[in-house]
Point group: C2
Chain length 428, copies 2
């Protein structure tokens, strides 16, 4: 007999084979109701007394039975059981927390300690359905727009992107690093003739922050493209991708979005505002001072409020960051010296993207490296590509957990990682 | 003017905008021919003397011109140039090696030293088109068969899978490891109620081997599924995926396969042979002795020859590995004590997969850990899931670079990695 998923059940005169976990047991003595949970949904099983002998919550079972109508059951059907077999035993005194309740009040750290139990809670699992479809949309959009997927190394030779925030690896008794981002490699792949590339891969930040919005290992959705005019090409692409992504989520995740009470925007038009202008507005409207060349988290939240009111947008591109606040490879705006052709994207008050046009001229790049008091020889692997006709190019990256978190309005980024890594957490 | 890719060029009365790199220059004084290369192909440009002034091989350029018929040009068209602009300068005395030749005789190490130049060689780039489509087929197949994609951590707490072959990471002054495989985590995700999962991610092996078939950082295509009958379910799935993959490659990569002179199998039926039987055959037919509980690389090559002759198959599943030669979580065959429900898949004489059914019972698993003289507390993060109804399950993994290498019959696995990492190589 072929196994049927719960979501595909229909009333029939033939028996079906179901598999899953015991989500709930209601024992009335002569009769018992079990809620069976599989990856697709939950269904009520009607059992006789003997059939549930020894059955405990979260046992995994195989069930054979007949699908019948029952107006009172959810979706109007239930399964009359002819046999139950326990295929996965349980070995607990007490569950670490309830799986059956949709309203889960267990603290996040306890949930993460027993991650494979908390993931059984349908509302928790729903986060990763949405995350999967965000990734699917990313891959689908960029592949269909002539971008090629790449895998670049995560073990790298030198801490070129800011050594202090990088994890070190013992690589056959040499000191190596975990890549903070595929920045240099994705640029190199543009230069290698791939022109337009994307990567879905882990990035590592040894930041000491332990906040609701930082992870030390996260999935970065990276994009880099050659032959651009300027950074506005990049913002156009990202905006278009986001439109596509929300459309895709509407089609594939309507139930999950409903579970979280969130809606995706019907229209997306993202305002682009110079950083200085945003800082000025924050000061004038909210009395909020910003650090030089940036906006802090409180400022981002206020900015969201302002942008939402004025433009009805959850997103805003901040542009024209000063040269001193951006990495050395960022292209300076020849029309506005001291400022770069770079941007951040703020989504519901959280930065989810940094992007911009990069320097493509070999000599200019060397100058900037030297000017930043870094060693040219550390960048030899990167500079080599720039000798052979590097075209104007740029790109951006989106943090997968951050965008998931903000789409679903989760309060902690750890909820959007299957097995989050932070300064304290290395398990499970 | 919108940029047009070379592969989409058609004769027209309107000018087109092209972008790419200078692949070849033939200067006849009064007239010059340039081969322009973009990510999609190569086309001949017809230029006047002045237009090529200062132009060098591998400059990136923007070209405006008219597409004309020319029987002598490849594909019967060429572009009469009205303007050329250099957008990416060159800064070299001499190219490290020729990019324009299809027959590339430069040594592999030199090519890898200048990876972004060797990737410009169309035949080298073709490898990654094929690799992308293998990955696409993997994702497409498993997604459409109800598997969910997961991302599991690569920084892990303990060297549970064999400490000596793992890279260590300094994780905020704690000793952590780079995961050798997502083995434990993909099993845990089955137990977390996802039932059927796949992962595309890096795996790290600190093996000291420096051979044509080993990489220290490679992309692992991992599969794990719950509620299986036994390991034959897993071999069925892998075989079906491979059929799908070859069909997909035939549709998407016919040119690339032709470039390498390889064909994909029309039919795929993979023989399944117990290890002991294969060892016996090797001894009797070729006088080849095998190590206990395994077949060495010479044996694998001879086995391929034998299987090819007898079954007309490039693949063979080897089954029934002894318990002593498999990891402690491998399920023993109750009908054949001492042997496991595990398998390897050998493709053209190279192991590309290890798989099998895993132990799902908490007590049995604890016994095996203790029996293997390992510490239970190191496995607490893993064992926790097994207390709560872990169903029978199993899975397998395919090395992306290995399968790419064998499909295209490359002689060294480094050719199938954009930026390979081996015991000597950490750059570029």
């Amino acid at each position: 007999m072929e196994r049927v998923y719960i979501k595909d059940l229909e009333v029939s005169e033939e028996e079906v084979l179901l598999r899953g976990w015991v989500h709930k047991i209601r024992d009335f003595g002569h009769i018992a109701f079990i809620m069976l949970r599989d990856k697709s949904g939950i269904i009520q099983l009607v059992c006789e007394k003997e059939q549930i002998k020894g059955l405990r919550l979260e046992n995994s079972i195989e069930v054979v039975g007949l699908v019948k109508e029952n107006e009172k059951a959810s979706k109007g059907i239930e399964v009359e059981v002819s046999s139950i077999e326990i295929v996965g035993k349980t070995y607990y005194d007490k569950l670490p927390f309830e799986v059956q309740s949709y309203k889960n009040k267990t603290g996040l750290e306890t949930q993460l300690d027993h991650r494979t139990i908390s993931l059984r809670i349908p509302k928790v699992k729903a986060i990763f359905k949405v995350q999967n479809e965000i990734e699917e949309a990313f891959k689908g959009y960029f592949k269909s727009h002539d971008f090629e997927q790449i895998h670049t190394p995560k073990i790298i030779n030198s801490g070129t992107e800011g050594g202090s925030e990088m994890f070190t690896v013992n690589y056959f008794n040499r000191r190596a690093f975990l890549a903070q981002s595929p920045q240099f490699y994705k640029q190199m792949m543009v230069g290698a003739g791939f022109e337009k590339v994307f990567e879905i891969g882990y990035a590592y930040r040894a930041e000491l922050h332990n906040t609701w919005r930082h992870l030390n290992e996260y999935v970065s959705l990276d994009v880099e493209m050659g032959f651009i005019k300027d950074e506005s090409d990049l913002m156009d692409v990202e905006e278009d991708f986001l439109r596509y992504m929300f459309e895709h989520l509407k089609e594939t995740c309507s139930e999950e979005l409903k579970l979280y009470g969130v809606e995706v925007p019907e229209e997306l038009k993202i305002p682009r505002i110079p950083l200085a202008e945003a800082q000025k507005m924050l000061l004038e409207k909210y009395g909020k001072k910003s650090p030089v060349g940036n906006i802090d988290h409180e400022g981002e939240a206020l900015l969201h409020k302002y942008i939402k009111e004025k433009y009805n947008s959850d997103f805003v591109f901040l542009t024209e960051y000063p040269v001193s606040k951006r990495p050395m490879y960022t292209m300076e705006d020849e029309k506005k010296p001291g400022f770069t052709k770079s941007f951040d994207l703020i989504y519901k008050g959280l930065e989810i993207t940094t992007g911009g046009q990069r320097i493509h001229d070999y000599e200019m790049l060397k100058e900037r490296i030297v000017g930043a008091k870094m060693k040219l020889e550390d960048f030899a692997f990167y500079l080599d590509t720039f000798k052979y006709g590097m075209p104007p190019h740029g790109g951006f990256a989106i943090g997968l957990e951050r965008i998931t978190m903000k789409v679903l309005e989760l309060s902690n980024i750890r909820e959007a990682a299957l097995f989050p890594r932070d300064i304290k957490r290395l398990t499970p």
